[in-house]
């Protein structure tokens, strides 16, 4: 919350820009949607327990708004447990390539009331419609089961979410939406897209990038562990040796 408050002046400035844009009479084909985020970065520091960003903007006149947030892409493996002699063991697996690590859809009303299924399919809006490619040789039916399981697992981890009541439209012009990030949020670049639909047709969309990264000591430790793994190991050992020895000395005197 403190982060939100500290960035308030900038945030106010952006609101003013939004109002400014509204006041200027625009031609019919001009940008008919403007949006911005309360902050362009989510910093993971020592006390990080998750974060919530505020997305806000304005449209020219009435319409329906759909916001999608797509996280960094990476390969994700889904494994299926099988019962072998009474014990559950990981069996077959399917790897989805370049799957978004985070995905959120928020809309001002149920998606099927905003646009047709074909239109949504084309724009890949909704977690059920995202691209998940695999080189798995399994049958399409089985891959589909893994796909459903992937989305289900992601939702359980709060990394995939759908929210149809979240976007509030104020006087048909201003809108705001919150983007929640759980504590296990993957680091990387995120893409926030605001779509404006009118009568089931996409009239405008605006993309805003967003970065999630570790900061401070946490970032340093993580980077060091990956970039200088051998030194990290040696330092871990030295710290442990000193801590153990020190404890022995202190308690022997006490």
């Amino acid at each position: 919350m403190s982060r939100l408050l500290s960035s308030l002046p900038k945030w106010l400035a952006r609101w003013c820009m939004v109002f400014g844009a509204l006041c200027v009479p625009a031609s019919a084909n001009a940008q008919s949607i403007v949006a911005d985020l309360s902050t362009r970065e989510v910093a993971i520091s020592t006390g990080f327990t998750g974060a919530e960003l505020l997305l806000f903007g304005a449209t020219e006149g009435f319409g329906d708004i759909v916001v999608t947030v797509e996280g960094p892409k990476r390969d994700e493996i889904v494994r299926r447990k099988e019962r072998v002699a009474g014990i559950w063991v990981n069996g077959t697996s399917v790897t989805f390539e370049d799957a978004p690590a985070y995905y959120r859809t928020a809309a001002s009303k149920p998606l099927n009331e905003i646009a047709s299924a074909q239109a949504l399919e084309k724009l890949k809006i909704g977690s059920g419609r995202i691209d998940l490619t695999t080189r798995s040789q399994d049958s399409a039916e089985r891959v589909l089961k893994f796909r459903d399981a992937f989305i289900r697992s992601k939702k359980r981890q709060a990394l995939y979410s759908e929210d149809i009541s979240d976007i509030r439209i104020i006087r048909g012009r201003l809108f705001r939406s919150t983007i929640p990030f759980p504590v296990n949020v993957p680091t990387g670049t995120y893409q926030v897209t605001v779509h404006l639909f009118k009568d089931g047709r996409l009239v405008s969309s605006e993309k805003t990038p967003l970065t999630v990264h570790k900061v401070g000591l946490e970032a340093k430790i993580y980077d060091f562990a990956h970039d200088h793994a051998a030194w990290y190991g040696i330092i871990a050992i030295v710290i442990a040796l000193v801590a153990g020895w020190l404890a022995g000395v202190i308690f022997r005197k006490a």
């Binding site: 006390g47 299926r80 430790i221 051998a230 801590a243």
Partner: protein
């Protein structure tokens, strides 16, 4: 007070981790064991990824064993020659173990292998401990009962490369302690333990070492082997979380001191029966996770970015 763990990539309550370290430290001080075999499953139960729990625990065991090892060293309770042979075996075993760990992690079976190893070893050791200490307890009440033979010769004593271990008053094949070291090294890598609960009985019953040097020599070996595991896990898997390890270390060194004071007032057999029961309880809890039907038979693993 939530604290973000940079390698585990999750937030946990720092006070809870200190308390957990303190509790396990208390038990390890009371029973004179490393505590890794309790800490690793507990970390997994609270949601730490098993691979991170194992890697971090190896690091914590380094800290937990070093002060004990130094104390025994000063009192001359370390058979250095034996310790070095065990250590060489331990280096071989733990290096093999970490490679095996990396391989199992890649094929998605590491969680399963960790759980099965725990069930197997805790089960065997727990049962042996309870049986042995119940027997000893009865013997202490009935001193006229016949005593077991202390030492018997088997084919193990006919192995080549005989070495004299003066401090242990032994003349045995170097292959024996080397083999024990290899097995314990593998366990240390896969289970995130020091392996004292396997090594101490092996030293007494298999090698026939006098009890006076057993604990010191095993601690001496554990420090080096867990240091090796920490290093290799850091290099191969990046699964050692320094922040988590430090919180556990602080809790456990304090707990261990209190535990040691309480333990010295209890009777040996009763303490061992209690420890045996705790070991069996942890074993049962881990076994339960293997047989209970999961909420979702599908689970996610990360393939890594490219």
């Amino acid at each position: 007070m939530q604290i973000y763990l940079p390698i585990a990539e999750m937030s946990l309550n720092a006070l809870m981790l200190l308390g957990l370290g303190g509790m396990v430290g208390f038990l390890s001080g009371m029973f004179g064991v490393g505590g890794g075999f309790l800490m690793t499953p507990l970390l997994i139960f609270i949601g730490v990824p098993p691979a991170v729990a194992v890697g971090t625990e190896a690091n914590q065991v380094v800290a937990a064993s070093v002060s004990g090892a130094l104390a025994h060293w000063r009192r001359g309770n370390v058979d250095i020659r034996m310790g070095v042979v065990l250590m060489i075996g331990g280096f071989i075993g733990s290096t093999l173990g970490v490679s095996l760990f990396t391989f199992l992690r890649e094929i998605g079976q590491i969680d399963f292998v960790i759980a099965v190893s725990y069930v197997l070893f805790l089960g065997i050791v727990g049962i042996l401990m309870v049986v042995e200490s119940v027997r000893a307890w009865f013997r202490s009440r009935n001193p006229s009962a016949p005593r077991r033979k202390l030492h018997h010769h088997t084919w193990l004593h006919g192995l080549p490369f005989k070495m004299r271990f003066r401090r242990s008053k032994l003349y045995i094949s170097a292959l024996l302690p080397l083999g024990v070291g290899v097995v314990v090294g593998i366990l240390a890598a896969i289970m995130g333990v020091g392996g004292g609960f396997v090594m101490v009985p092996a030293m007494i019953y298999l090698l026939g070492m006098p009890t006076s040097v057993v604990v010191g020599t095993s601690l001496f070996q554990i420090v080096f082997v867990t240091a090796n595991v920490t290093f290799l896990q850091s290099v191969n898997n990046q699964t050692v979380d320094i922040v988590l390890a430090m919180l556990l270390v602080v809790g456990s060194v304090i707990g261990a001191q209190i535990g040691a004071r309480v333990g010295s007032r209890l009777r040996g057999e009763e303490v061992r029966i209690a420890l045996g029961l705790i070991v069996l309880a942890v074993c049962a809890r881990v076994a339960w996770t293997l047989v209970v039907t999961p909420d979702d038979v599908y689970s996610l693993g990360i393939g890594g970015a490219h």
